[in-house]
């Protein structure tokens, strides 16, 4: 056995162990820690499977942002954790769950192993049609051209999700700011990081978007980096979350889907199809949409973590 397959087996084994550990963890904070580690390991697996775009997303969203949300939730739940388990499961129930879950997992495993090899794929067709947009990264082509409708509607999902989070605000705080973070020690490490990291992070985020035309990357991954930078600044107390009633903020939150829709309808009016791009201008138009999207996604993700408004608007 050569070294590479052995490493793969090792990583796969660790992923399984961490997954089981996350499920059986007694308290929610250790489960969250397990979950974050699990996400990072999965990102490694995706790299090994030759899917760097998925790996970037998994690390940024699956592990990073979700981890941040879960840590916050676990911290808030800790006080009432014992009271939430009114509908608990006895020993027989647990055994039954384990048995049924094993059967379902086994069925999925059989289905996966029975899939044709090599897998039927649209990758060659996607690569062959890259000329229509002038972009070299087939994944960006899929997201921005072939399945542009899905991408546009997913940005709409983000807006709706944010409205859902905001709907939990107390009536008096409507239009105001989300919960503020404790002011960090001005000489501490967090404040130092919050001063040093963002300039680099912002450049990196935009770079991840920019290269996505021809290389792995994309608006979503870039936006997650930007959102993380913003959150670091907020947590260090160097800035405050904007008031959710501000119109500029709301414009930023819909910029992505709105630009997408305008381009889509433009294609329709110019005699093409909805969401078709003009032949010679495809690349700049797609970049314009992606820049609007990175703003929207970064702002939405940061505000989803920040939570509903809790402090009333200043008069």
């Amino acid at each position: 056995m050569t070294i590479v397959p052995a490493l793969d087996l090792f990583v796969a084994g660790v992923v399984l162990i961490v997954a089981v550990w996350t499920v059986v963890a007694r308290d929610s904070s250790s489960a969250v820690v397990g979950f974050v580690a699990y996400g990072l390991l999965l990102a490694l697996v995706w790299v090994r499977l030759g899917a760097p775009d998925v790996a970037l997303t998994e690390a940024a969203i699956g592990s990073g942002l979700t981890g941040a949300l879960l840590i916050g939730a676990a911290a808030r739940l800790r006080a009432g954790e014992s009271s939430t388990s009114a509908e608990h499961l006895g020993g027989v129930g647990r055994t039954l769950v384990a048995a049924l879950a094993t059967i379902v997992a086994a069925a999925i495993a059989v289905a996966l192993l029975s899939l044709p090899d090599p897998a039927p794929s649209l990758a060659p067709e996607a690569a062959a049609n890259a000329g229509a947009t002038g972009l070299g990264n087939p994944i960006t082509n899929v997201l921005m051209a072939f399945r542009a409708m899905d991408t546009m509607l997913e940005k709409f999902v983000l807006v709706i999700a944010l409205v859902g989070v905001w709907s939990l605000a107390p009536d008096g705080a409507w239009g105001g700011r989300p919960r503020s973070y404790h002011r960090a020690d001005p000489e501490g490490a967090l404040v130092f990081l919050a001063r040093v990291l963002p300039p680099l992070g912002v450049v990196l985020g935009i770079y991840v978007l920019w290269v996505s035309a021809d290389h792995p990357g994309g608006a979503f991954q870039g936006a997650t980096i930007l959102a993380a930078m913003w959150l670091v600044v907020l947590m260090a107390g160097l800035g405050d979350v904007p008031e959710v009633g501000r119109q500029q903020l709301r414009l930023m939150l819909v910029a992505g889907p709105v630009v997408f829709l305008i381009v889509g309808l433009g294609g329709l009016l110019l005699g093409g199809a909805f969401l078709s791009y003009p032949q010679d201008w495809a690349k700049p138009v797609i970049l314009a949409i992606e820049f609007a999207m990175i703003l929207t996604v970064a702002a939405t993700l940061a505000l989803l973590v920040a939570g509903p408004p809790e402090r009333s608007a200043e008069p």
Binding site: A119, P120, R147, M149, I160, G164, L268, F274, L275, Y277
Partner: protein, 602 residues
């Protein structure tokens, strides 16, 4: 353009209507989000007639295409690109949805108005955007020709629907919303897992292309059962209904109407797509009979528990549980064992007609219940007497909507029942005919229970409660527009049976109310009689202290006691099934049993 040419039948410029049908609510929601304040409501209300007109235009175009109206998004043909497709089923669902959303919009104007002096308020702002979100999600469900686009549509629908449950911000509605969110997301994950397997097996997610490729392979059978069970969890088919009663009863009236009438139809519609369009030839007798048996269980459990409710909104929520069961009866009837395939005929048409009738009728009933609550300051069924005088329009809407649900001619549900019964007779499955008739009688039972209170004499003890209540709860005034909106929807549901549906639904031309006068009267009278008996035996009522009724009640003694015991048993069963661990176990068990039933044929 250099991309692939439109190989699938594309319908030229009229196909752009399909795009508009999704873009109108989505764009309106985005603009309303930025505009804020009072403008949010106005933008939403302005979008309603536009969307309705687009839906009607699509419904007018579809019969001319002979099959489906197709639009290739971005000019890219499947499998690389995604297409929007409107067949007859999509067309009728689009129109019904637009009508119901419009009526809910008119109704909600009074409830979700920004108070004088305030610039913007939480509940109105979120309600109007979520209303548009639900609408955009549903239209995408009806039009998407691709399993992943359907997943995105489900996500829009879920995230727009869940916050509607807890708009009033009370702790108990927050809990109901959280239950709904977690269970609905579990359903999404199962659906997505199945989609992934199908892509792995065939390299396409287009509904039409997949239907040509699928064969009975392990991946397809596993995918089919995971997706079906995930969608059933989102549709709240018994035993996966833990989230529905508290969510549908706790939401504000306009929200309840939207959730009960439309949102559950979204995931139901995808089940229909999956079973009839993607893999019609892979179903088995065992799987279809099982799905319909779950439906029959839902009818029985939902109806009996509805009869035992003290509050009107919970009664209507349990009625939805029963009516969802009714929608799944068509699967057993549509399966042709000889051809080993799902057939698009009477059964499918009946099921879809039932879904449409229920959408209009249930929205009307929840809106009417909201008006009654506002007028009386409560919704305890025992103390509903006098509601008829305060809000006559709402009470009439409740009664008409209820009668439409029972399936009294000429309602859409009546025609649906006829079609399902005909299909049961044609396929020799008499047991489903029994279930269909019993379902109508049960619906009538809980309707009679409510109407007897509303129209009956003022109950003395109940009135005493009411007067003590009055200090705590505030009675309000109900505008005529709210009652008119509910009444209009109820009337629509009642008139659906008069339309010739052959242009959109798979029925022979001229299928509409055809039976003779005697048949019609019999069809109207017998569910009422049977429902009356069921209401007396199983319903929640107390005999008056004196008089002839007291003697009659005493004569019923043992039977009544048995009925009450049975009802209590069903309530306990419902409470048991609605626990988290039990619902989770049911989900896993159903996935396994469906997988086994699907592969039983091979």
């Amino acid at each position: 353009m250099s991309g692939p040419v439109a190989v699938l039948e594309s319908a030229g410029s009229s196909g752009a209507l399909l795009v508009l049908s999704i873009v109108v609510p989505v764009a309106a929601a985005l603009v309303a989000f930025v505009a804020g304040g009072r403008r949010t409501a106005w933008i939403a209300l302005a979008a309603l007639p536009v969307g309705l007109a687009v839906a009607v235009a699509i419904a007018a175009k579809v019969p001319q295409t002979g099959g489906a109206l197709v639009y290739l998004l971005g000019g890219w043909a499947p499998p690389l690109g995604v297409a929007l497709r409107a067949d007859g089923l999509s067309a009728v669902m689009l129109v019904v949805t637009a009508c119901v959303v419009a009526a809910i919009g008119v109704y909600a104007r009074a409830d979700f108005r920004v108070a004088a002096g305030a610039a913007e308020e939480r509940a109105p702002f979120t309600f109007w955007i979520l209303l548009l979100g639900v609408w955009g999600g549903l239209n995408t469900v009806f039009l998407a020709g691709d399993l992943f686009t359907l997943y995105v549509a489900l996500e829009i629908l879920t995230f727009a629907a869940v916050p509607l449950v807890c708009l009033d911000g009370r702790a108990e509605t927050l809990q109901a919303a959280l239950r709904y969110l977690l269970f609905a997301l579990l359903g999404s994950v199962l659906y997505l897992a199945g989609t992934t397997l199908l892509y792995g097996a065939y390299g396409t997610l287009d509904v039409v292309l997949l239907s040509r490729l699928v064969t009975a392979e392990p991946a397809v059978l596993v995918a089919g059962s995971l997706m079906t069970v995930g969608l059933l969890a989102k549709t709240a088919l018994v035993p996966l209904h833990l989230w529905l009663p508290p969510a549908h009863a706790g939401a504000p009236p306009a929200g309840s109407a939207l959730l009960s009438a439309l949102v559950v139809k979204g995931s139901f519609f995808i089940v229909v797509r999956l079973w009839f369009d993607v893999m019609p030839g892979l179903q088995s007798v065992a799987a279809t009979q099982m799905l319909s048996a779950l439906g029959a269980t839902a009818i029985l459990l939902g109806s009996v528990v509805a009869l035992r409710q003290e509050r009107l909104k919970l009664l209507i929520a349990y009625s939805t549980l029963a009516q969802i069961g009714y929608l799944f009866l068509m699967f057993a009837l549509a399966y042709d064992a000889g051809a080993a395939s799902m057939l698009k005929g009477d059964a499918l048409a009946g099921g879809m007609l039932q879904a449409m009738s229920h959408a209009a009728a249930k929205a009307a009933m929840f809106m009417a219940a909201g008006s009654i609550y506002t007028a009386l300051g409560h919704d305890r069924i025992a103390a509903l007497a006098g509601a008829g005088r305060r809000v006559p329009g709402a009470v009439a809407a409740f009664a008409l909507g209820g009668l439409a649900l029972v399936g009294l001619p000429p309602s859409g549900a009546y025609l649906a029942k006829e079609l399902l019964l005909r299909s049961a007779a044609d396929t020799g499955q008499w047991w489903w005919a029994v279930v269909i008739q019993a379902g109508g009688a049960f619906t009538c039972a809980y309707l009679l229970l409510v109407l007897a209170r509303v129209l009956g004499p003022v109950n003395r003890t109940a009135t005493a409660d009411e007067t003590t209540d009055e200090t705590a709860t505030k009675r309000g005034r109900v505008g005529w527009s709210q009652q008119a909106a509910a009444l209009a929807l109820a009337a629509c549901s009642l008139a659906l049976g008069l339309v010739d549906w052959s242009a959109w639904l798979p029925v022979p031309p001229g299928t509409r109310l055809s039976s003779s006068l005697v048949d019609t009267i019999a069809a109207a009278v017998w569910p009422v009689l049977a429902g009356g008996v069921l209401a007396v035996l199983l319903g929640r009522w107390t005999p008056p202290p004196r008089g002839r009724l007291q003697q009659a009640a005493a004569a019923l003694g043992p039977l009544r006691r048995a009925g009450v015991a049975l009802g209590a048993g069903f309530c306990r069963a419902d409470a048991f099934l609605r626990q988290w661990p039990v619902a989770g176990l049911s989900l896993l068990a159903l996935a396994i049993v469906f997988g086994a039933a699907l592969s039983a044929r091979y």
